[in-house]
């Protein structure tokens, strides 16, 4: 090892409090960089996946939902409660009464409210496998080609394995597939066919289960209709036609749902970016002051090393090395801590910010990790440059004279 490295290590090792203090600054810096970056990128990819996942141009929902405050975000967060529209009102969507309907598929939402009916309270989404174009593309691992009756697809976050069984109103349902992650309530939902829902409801009624209080069923009611516009028609055109002709429903553009969320995301990202920059500037300043103070405090020792034959350049290298070591150690610790904290609390972040949140893929995570470490380490070196300048202005002979 070169001598400046040797002395640097001794300095760090024999002054543990000072060293830990400097490392802590590095930790704060890289923690804030990586934490902030992860949150921003997590929100962004959550939103992207949600946009893909909505998968339809137009979403048609019962008209009661229009007047609900915060409808746009609610519909993405799954807080919307359960509303239904009678199937009969929708005829014009199917019989050509409204022009420009390309793909169309219905969904029926259903909550199993309490534990005495089921293994656990669940949000059930049923779809029609014959027309569905928004659920099937997102099945991550499938174990069967087609869902049979009483088979379910689980959201990404549900902790079950294929072949596991969930009970709904006493009916055993087998897990057949798992969905990809969205970072939203969809990750804890259960997907199944409409005929399965029918069977569950029938069983509940037949056995007079008190937990079941519903009065609707997929055969007569619909929770939402997803529509892709046919070629040659514009989304707005079709949207307007639906809203004008069917009073019982409210048609929204999927994109506009996202836009609202995206606006929320932009403001959150802005706050986080500002915070990162403030913390960045603060920790570089504190580090810079700390390093200059350290040089001042040790200037006699530096003079002695110069007397023994070290050049000015070597002294500068020594400071740089010290700054590099503490900020590298600090930033690695901070980055590890940041990734752990964000991973552990990703669900709380999602709930707290009320925005979809998806952790980046391992490869991206590694990239962010390395970038954060590099940024924090480089910042440490920038902070040390004042001290490096200071040391190059120290005259060993004059310093040694000072305290004689």
């Amino acid at each position: 090892m070169s001598a400046d490295g040797f002395i640097t290590l001794k300095q760090l090792y024999r002054k543990p409090v000072r060293t830990l203090g400097l490392i802590l600054l590095g930790v704060i810096l890289s923690l804030s960089i990586i934490g902030g970056t992860l949150i921003i990128s997590g929100l962004r990819s959550g939103l992207d996946s949600l946009e893909d996942r909505l998968g339809a141009d137009i979403m048609v929902v019962p008209v009661e939902l229009r007047s609900k405050a915060g409808f746009n975000t609610d519909i993405l967060q799954g807080n919307k409660g359960y509303y239904y529209v009678e199937r009969d009102y929708l005829n014009s969507l199917y019989n050509g009464g409204i022009k420009g309907i390309g793909q169309i598929s219905e969904q029926y939402y259903f909550a199993t409210a309490s534990a005495d009916c089921c293994t656990a309270p669940m949000h059930l989404i049923s779809y029609d496998p014959k027309t569905d174009f928004t659920i099937k593309p997102w099945i991550e691992v499938s174990y069967k080609d087609e869902l049979k009756d009483c088979e379910i697809v689980i959201g990404y976050d549900i902790n079950l394995e294929p072949g596991d069984v969930l009970y709904f109103f006493g009916v055993p349902c087998t897990v057949a597939a798992r969905m990809e992650q969205t970072g939203t309530y969809l990750d804890t939902a259960v997907y199944t066919t409409q005929s399965t829902i029918e069977a569950l409801i029938k069983n509940a009624i037949d056995n007079n289960l008190p937990a079941y209080t519903g009065t609707t069923a997929p055969s007569t009611h619909v929770s939402s209709v997803l529509i892709n516009v046919a070629d040659g028609y514009s989304i707005d055109e079709v949207l307007q036609a639906i809203n004008e002709n069917i009073d019982e429903v409210y048609a929204v553009k999927s994109k506009s749902l996202i836009t609202n969320v995206a606006e929320g995301l932009t403001s959150v990202s802005g706050i986080i970016s500002t915070l990162i920059i403030v913390i960045w500037i603060l920790s570089i300043s504190v580090m810079a002051v700390a390093f200059v103070m350290i040089v001042n405090e040790r200037k006699k020792e530096f003079a002695i090393i110069r007397v023994t034959g070290a050049s000015e350049k070597m002294m500068q290298k020594m400071i740089k090395k010290e700054a590099f070591i503490v900020s590298a150690v600090g930033s690695i610790l901070g980055a590890v801590l940041g990734i752990s904290v964000v991973s552990l609390f990703s669900e709380s972040i999602e709930n707290y910010l009320d925005l979809p949140f998806l952790l980046p893929s391992p490869a991206n995570l590694l990239g962010i990790f390395i970038l954060a470490i590099a940024a924090a380490t480089i910042s440490g070196s920038i902070a040390a440059s004042f001290a490096v300048y200071r040391i190059s202005r120290l005259d060993p002979a004059l310093i040694l004279q000072e305290d004689n």
Partner: protein
């Protein structure tokens, strides 16, 4: 090797506005002979440390040159001059000069480790025997903060001598030492001198003049040669 100062002088920058800049060292020629022990004495503030630092390549003279043999050391780059200092000079600065983060032994070996030289068993043995002669070998693994003032000064002496320097510059090396230790250090200087080193010792001690081959006295920035009382062997 001969260290030779040619009409060097030093005027420090004014500390306060109205202070007239005093010449701490008036124009001086000075030769430090090899194989000789030179003693320099003089009142406090007379310019001894100033001269020593100029000779050591640590303090740029206001005027004049310092030559080590034929090399003008202030014409060298900082890097070369530093390297020179490490290679040929053993310097004991005035005051306490140990590195607090290094042990006694690490402090003593610093002239070697500074440029990443391999510290051989021989070097270690030599360092240890220096410490032993100075009576501080059992403290070799202690930190400077655990040493007395006199012990620290002896460590600084060992550090200056460990690399067998051609030029030894000692600024009051026996300042807070008892007679016995003063004598040990003077004997060490004698040995180095006999091995061909040029030794300069700045001191206030009165009764050691008989060790000196050359004796100088400084008075307000001027240097005067005194008669050496040494009986040459």
């Amino acid at each position: 090797m001969i260290l030779h100062a040619e009409s060097v002088s030093k005027e420090y920058k004014k500390r306060r506005k109205n202070q007239k800049p005093d010449a701490a060292l008036k124009q001086t020629d000075f030769v430090l002979e090899e194989g000789a022990l030179t003693i320099l004495r003089g009142a406090s503030g007379s310019g001894k440390t100033t001269l020593l630092n100029i000779l050591a390549g640590l303090l740029n003279p206001s005027e004049g040159h310092v030559f080590l043999d034929d090399t003008d050391i202030y014409a060298l780059s900082d890097e070369d001059r530093s390297r020179f200092r490490n290679q040929y000079f053993g310097i004991i600065p005035q005051g306490q000069t140990l590195l607090s983060c290094l042990t006694v032994f690490e402090n003593v070996l610093l002239p070697y480790t500074l440029y990443g030289e391999k510290v051989t068993a021989e070097i270690k043995e030599n360092a240890l025997s220096l410490l032993k002669r100075l009576g501080i070998d059992d403290l070799k693994d202690n930190l400077p903060s655990e040493l007395s003032g006199g012990e620290r000064r002896r460590v600084a002496v060992a550090r200056a001598l460990v690399k067998n320097p051609k030029i030894v510059l000692a600024d009051e090396p026996t300042g807070d030492l008892d007679e016995k230790n003063t004598e040990i250090i003077l004997n060490l200087f004698e040995e180095y001198k006999k091995n061909g080193s040029a030794v300069l010792m700045v001191t206030h001690e009165k009764d050691i003049d008989h060790y000196a081959d050359n004796l100088y006295r400084m008075d307000t920035g001027e240097i005067f040669r005194s008669v050496s009382l040494r009986k040459r062997a």
